[in-house]
């Protein structure tokens, strides 16, 4: 036990001396960092290798995470009005106009891995919108494989249906 404590003490001392050296070098170098960041790092920038990396999810698997995710409906407004996942937000997919900042920013608040996109199968709009959201910097975006038809087939809840 005493030996472990001695190793721990030495490790702490090494860490402290190294950190002090880092602080000294940072203080004298021209491109040194302020010790407390003055503004947030811009982590939501396009990285080429990260573009369009939304992951598919089977509708049957989506049942288990419904309470923990925000569903985004990528279908058109009429299809959304005819029935959608409970609490879903409508963000109709458009190949010509990707979602704007005013649509993206509120979605960031849900946090990483909390966005599940449901689209329709003909356009594969769920996958395409999910890719747009991932490209815009939202992390861990998933989409329902097979879109809203698969959602209904899996017996998942629908609201707003006539």
């Amino acid at each position: 036990m005493r030996v472990l404590l001695r190793w721990l003490g030495q490790a702490v001392l090494l860490t402290a001396v190294s950190s002090l050296l880092g602080l000294l070098v940072n203080a004298v170098r021209a491109d040194g960092l302020p010790l407390v960041a003055k503004r947030p790092y811009e982590i939501y920038t396009d990285c080429p290798e990260l573009i369009a990396q939304a992951k598919p999810m089977a509708a049957t698997d989506a049942a288990g995470i419904l309470g923990a995710v925000q569903v985004i409906d990528a279908r058109g407004i009429e299809a959304f009005a005819a029935g959608h996942a409970p609490g879903a937000i409508s963000v109709p997919y458009s190949a010509l106009a990707p979602p704007g900042k005013e649509q993206i920013e509120p979605l960031r608040a849900f946090g990483p891995g909390r966005i599940l996109v449901v689209g329709d199968t003909e356009l594969d709009s769920g996958q395409l919108l999910a890719a747009d959201l991932a490209t815009a910097g939202l992390t861990g975006v998933r989409y329902v494989d097979g879109g809203f038809p698969a959602w209904q087939e899996a017996g998942l809840p629908v609201e707003g249906a006539p």
Binding site: Q10, L13, A37, I43, E49
Partner: protein, 165 residues
Amino acid sequence: MSGSAPSRFRHHPLHGWLGLLARLGLGGVFLGACAYKIWDPHEFGLSIATYEIMPLSLINLMAVCLPWVELIIGLTFIAGLWTRASALAINGMLLMFIVALFIALSRDMQLSCGCFASQEAADEIGMHTVIRDFGMLLPGLYVMIFDDGRVGVDGWLRNRRARAS
């Protein structure tokens, strides 16, 4: 040689040389990892921020200090100076990296590791990254348990003290 079989095994002279190999390999990895972080602390700060674990107020402090901890402890580890303490610190850092990777993976985050190069490098995290870090724990644990730095500065200092007395 006297003592029980486990004790004889633990103090076998071969451990000194195997420990040196482990120290050269793992210490070399740490020296390689700290290079870009020291060269461009802002880029490393960005890597830390991307994990979304550290509060903003601590990111720069970590970006400034951690690379130098990796450098100095990597050097003492390779040299066999305070060998066990250096191994303890190296293993501690590896555990910290593993926890960060686990948190990011559990959030389904897609980002570059930032371990050896900036976020722009195509080194996306995954279970392979976690396994790699666990793999690096093995030489670290080996050194902590079996290598007392006999082939290194610790051994040289002990011999010098023994000759002096």
